[in-house]
């Protein structure tokens, strides 16, 4: 463009003519416009910068919150299922250590330590109905469990404590029913695993039954005939017999 005064060549950046000093009206507007656009650019840039920073801050916090929430849920589920988790782990370990555990179980059976046998099976999650222990030990695991519960009830029945009541007779009656049911049941596992016959196991179950009869005879005031007839008695007759024997002992205690 040319200066309106002297006709010299001017650029848009020159506010005044370098030759005559005349103000360049086009330059002024251009410079004003450029400043305006520059300010708008800076403002927009800052706005984008701030928005991005804010967005990043929000996203980072939301991610941290989500991670903490997920971890909390995982820990809650773990805490709520600690028992199942530990039991599953123990069951897997038992399956791996079949040889060693079988030796221990056979040892308990030889010593006639049925209590330790039952506790071992319970603590190491040896299942009676499936798994590697079921074929050989399945039945005796069930029988020993009912035997141990029965003996616990019988001990309190035979040696009543200050807080033992006549209800103990009912516990013993149920215990006897369960024990003889487990003992006489034709055992099969739910997965069709056939029972493997074992002399030690059979002898152990016979010994358990003998222990129960002897205990009833020696410590519970039963006659031999009464102790031997227990498996054949009806529930009502068994209850009557047990209550009658216990009442005598409870009144003696008083």
């Amino acid at each position: 463009m040319k200066c309106e005064n002297c006709g010299a060549n001017l650029t848009l950046e020159e506010e005044n003519c370098p030759f005559c000093g005349q103000p360049n009206p086009h330059a002024k507007q251009h410079i004003r416009d450029m400043r305006h656009y520059q300010n708008e650019f800076e403002d927009t840039k800052e706005h984008v910068y701030k928005s991005t920073k804010l967005y990043t801050q929000i996203v980072v916090r939301v991610v941290i919150l989500a991670v903490l929430a997920i971890l909390s849920v995982v820990l809650f589920v773990l805490a709520d299922n600690a028992y199942s988790f530990m039991r599953d782990r123990e069951e897997k370990r038992s399956a791996k250590n079949y040889e060693e555990y079988s030796r221990i179980l056979d040892g308990y059976l030889e010593e006639e330590n049925f209590r330790a046998f039952e506790i071992f099976c319970e603590e190491h999650v040896l299942r009676s109905y499936d798994g590697p222990y079921a074929p050989k030990y399945g039945k005796i695991i069930s029988v020993s469990r009912s035997y141990v519960y029965l003996m616990d009830y019988l001990w309190r029945y035979a040696f009543p404590l200050s807080y033992t009541t006549i209800q103990q007779a009912e516990l013993v009656s149920d215990g006897l029913e369960n024990f003889y049911r487990e003992l006489n049941e034709e055992w099969t596992s739910s997965y069709g695993v056939k029972r493997v016959s074992d002399e030690k196991v059979t002898a152990a179950m016979e010994k358990m039954e003998e222990n129960v009869r002897e205990f009833l005879f020696i410590y519970c005031g039963f006659t031999r005939e009464e102790a031997d007839s227990i498996p054949e008695l009806s529930k009502a007759k068994r209850m009557l017999l047990l209550e009658e024997k216990l009442e005598g002992r409870l009144s003696d205690e008083k």
């Binding site: 520059q38 903490l68 773990l78 616990d152």
Partner: protein, 147 residues
């Protein structure tokens, strides 16, 4: 043109937006929840282990009640779980003596002399370990009717 230094100075003086503040509070709360859950999970696993073994005080209360039968169950639970601390030795002896005495009387009255001898030996062994609970021997013998 605004430079980055002036931008930083300006942002240092600016207050946090409300949304960011709320998120910070939520994070602090969630962190506390996380710590609580972690503690709960650790406690749950420890409780599982602790539940497998009976403490001496539990054995003591059973013995005081004369509930020797239950004591035998608890002692065998501890033994199977491998609890052999010396602290338990005398309680174990009481339970062993009771268990052996029960079997001894059964064997004696059913004429099983070999069994009676075996259980008598176990009674003698347990008696040697009774320690401060030596008076339990007479209580047990009285309870079982053994002279």
């Amino acid at each position: 043109m605004r430079n980055s230094i002036s931008r930083r100075i300006r942002s240092a003086g600016e207050k946090k937006p409300l949304g960011i503040l709320l998120l910070d509070i939520a994070i602090m709360v969630m962190f506390l929840v996380f710590l609580f859950m972690a503690g709960t999970a650790v406690a749950a696993f420890r409780e599982y282990q602790a539940d497998r073994v009976y403490q001496p005080v539990s054995l003591y209360y059973r013995m005081e009640d004369g509930d020797y039968g239950r004591m035998v169950q608890m002692v065998w639970q501890n033994r199977v779980m491998g609890e052999t601390d010396q602290e338990y030795a005398e309680y174990y002896a009481v339970a062993d003596y009771f268990e052996a005495a029960v079997q001894y009387r059964i064997c004696t009255e059913t004429g099983d002399s070999a069994g009676a001898e075996k259980w008598l030996e176990k009674m003698a062994d347990a008696e040697g370990r009774l320690g401060m609970f030596s008076e339990e021997k007479e209580k047990i013998r009285t309870c079982l009717g053994i002279r």
